[in-house]
Symmetry: C2
Subunit: 391 residues, 2 copies
């Protein structure tokens, strides 16, 4: 042990001349600081700046998609802002803006990417937000796995959560929940922004959810994987289709290619291969796919979770949609769950679909939250939906 | 398909008022741009800045741990710098410094954390650097897995690479390589900074390395996991011990707790449980542990990789070290590999150990590179060491 201490001491002595340190120029202020009363103080050392703003979703401004901003005040080169009131329990995103340039907080390494934006994050603990924390409970395994997709003609990447005990209980089989991102997202979205592994770990540990496998897909069918994780290298992610992707055969979409994922998962994991042990859910574009993949495969899924999305029931495919839904509901799925925020711009889609379901006497569970088309809501919907599965 | 296009169109139409977009304020310049001749252009929109610098390891300045800087020039608010000469094939780290404040490049989402620093990255392709890329080859699985460590009394996290085909070839057993980080690192270091999964995928696909399991440990024995991944929440990582950790029993160090990892891996993965199918390696502090864990367990490992580290052979434990090494080498390990850079501040440690090995006629393979105690070298050592394993 003493030898190690000598080694480490020599290391620190010499380290300052080396790479990492000389790149750092790191300030020593604490930011963010969560105060005992759950107000939060943000700090930035920037003596030459003229104006420093905080931007993020702590302001919860409904007129601005939940976003807002505040100005930091400077004393001797240190810019500071403390929220005037305690923050509600939540996982929050923020950035600084220094003289108009958006930057990350150099004193907070905890960041999450959403499409091409990188946010700093912090959590104010509390009833629901405690689900988003890593707690001292048994943890599942999170794997980035490649599967062969013969329908598109190349290998693609999944993020797969297996619950605590999966490795040890080698005779146990598990139900599977397929979980899908929105436009601009990829197979990293739910695990990073959605806190899927934390929510599952915590709900399972509390006995509120069954142990299950969660398969997080990439629905951008011409991508192998998230930006930076594919053979197209360090491309910049965007909301639209990127030119730097593979080519898929004409007429192939994610709905047609979905069975490749199911086949891979059921061949390589210990799954219960029954309708009553399969769920599918997703947000926005992933909610759209939830509706469509499940009605294309009416014998496959007993649990559907449609988050912030819906069918308009009025376009070209109206007749097909109606016929498929009739078949799907004739097979009495156990749960069709629809969640949306009151100010979500897709509210009318959901409303149209609910009206149609009501008219047809198709049973569903409806969950309406405050707010709009934001991750805060999708974490809530996931936390509400998962306890209802496989019961 | 048409319906999806309508959906996506409605999405884009409405998206601009929502969260992500309003937080972005994103510039549209391309940065970094790798030009056809492998010069690289960096760009930043910062009309109010007085001075913008590029810092990073592209300058390869040996007097400054490989680091250096250059000033960007401004035209109409856009700051630009193009390297005067093509860059050699490599994975490079960089940041901008705007009026003294270190920031990440807002136009490049590809970042890697090293201790508490977050760097932007890009790759110039070429013979060795092509190993660091995600190529169009079969990919292994990368899992974050928790294991029970009874020696310390709590669960801890590992990053585990299983080679392509591991899931499908359910009868095949694999050799295991235990790979350890340096001071300030954690179980994320080798997978992120070391490009372990890319190097392994590529070497295996080229037939240059055997398919193997790679277990990346966390040697900070009082940590459950990397910062942000443990029950202590979003703590800031540091080079020294953090106060926000668990307590381990007196006298317990990583060397004593190592067998818990081996036991977990050999119980839960399809491993070949023989000395000739086990390797151990690490950088800096991890190299120190490679020497010590392997000589404490002389029947366990046939392959040792000591990167940028060594024993001084002159401290309190000299007699014990010598006795243990004598036993270890009497059992004729297949490979003792030592790699270090010419300007590494631990060069003398390695030299002392090599001199002692020479004196004792202990066989080893020595690899000396340019440069110092930097990730560039550790990626090289990994790429050189892995093809020698399990042959």
């Amino acid at each position: 042990m003493k030898k190690l201490i000598t080694f480490i001491f020599a290391f620190f002595l010499c380290y300052s001349v080396f790479a990492q340190q000389s790149l750092s120029s790191r300030a020593t202020v604490k930011s963010p600081e969560i105060n005992p009363d759950n107000t939060v103080t943000f700090r930035l050392i920037a003596p030459k700046a003229m104006k420093v703003e905080l931007i993020g979703d702590i302001f919860n401004d409904p007129d601005n998609g939940g976003q807002g901003s505040a100005q930091l005040k400077e004393i001797e080169g240190v810019w500071t802002y403390t929220t005037p009131t305690p923050l509600e329990p939540e996982l929050y995103f923020y950035n600084f803006k220094v003289d108009g340039l958006k930057i990350n907080d150099p004193n907070n390494v905890h960041i999450i990417r959403d499409v091409a934006n990188i946010f700093n994050v912090f959590i104010i603990g509390g009833p629901r937000a405690d689900l988003y924390k890593v707690n001292d409970v048994p943890h599942g395994t999170v794997s980035r796995v490649w599967y062969d997709s013969p329908t598109v003609g190349f290998d693609r990447r999944l993020t797969i959560y297996t619950p605590a005990g999966y490795e040890q209980n080698t005779k146990t089989k598990y139900p599977v929940f397929y979980l899908m991102h929105g436009a601009g997202g990829d197979e990293e979205a739910w695990i990073a922004l959605g806190r899927t592994s934390q929510i599952l770990d915590n709900l399972i540990a509390q006995g509120k959810a069954k142990p299950m496998i969660v398969v997080m897909t990439n629905e951008n069918i011409n991508q192998e994987a998230a930006a930076g994780e594919s053979s197209f290298g360090y491309v910049q992610p965007s909301m639209g289709a990127s030119s730097q992707t593979k080519t898929v055969p004409t007429g192939i979409d994610f709905i047609k290619a979905f069975p490749d994922i199911q086949k891979f998962v059921e061949s390589n994991y210990r799954t219960i291969n029954k309708k009553s042990s399969r769920a599918i859910g997703g947000l926005s574009m992933g909610g759209f796919y939830t509706v469509n993949v499940s009605k294309e495969n009416p014998d496959t899924f007993d649990y559907m979770g449609v988050f912030s999305a819906g069918l308009r029931m009025n376009d070209q495919s109206k007749d097909k949609d109606e016929a498929q839904l009739a078949i799907q509901f004739s097979k009495k799925p156990k749960l069709y769950w629809i969640g949306i925020g009151k100010t979500d711009f897709l509210y009318s889609y959901t409303k149209t679909m609910r009206d149609y379901f009501d008219e047809q006497n198709y049973p569903y569970v409806y969950y309406e939250s405050e707010g709009g088309h934001i991750w805060r809501n999708w974490r809530i919907y996931l936390s509400e939906f998962v306890p209802l599965l496989f019961k």
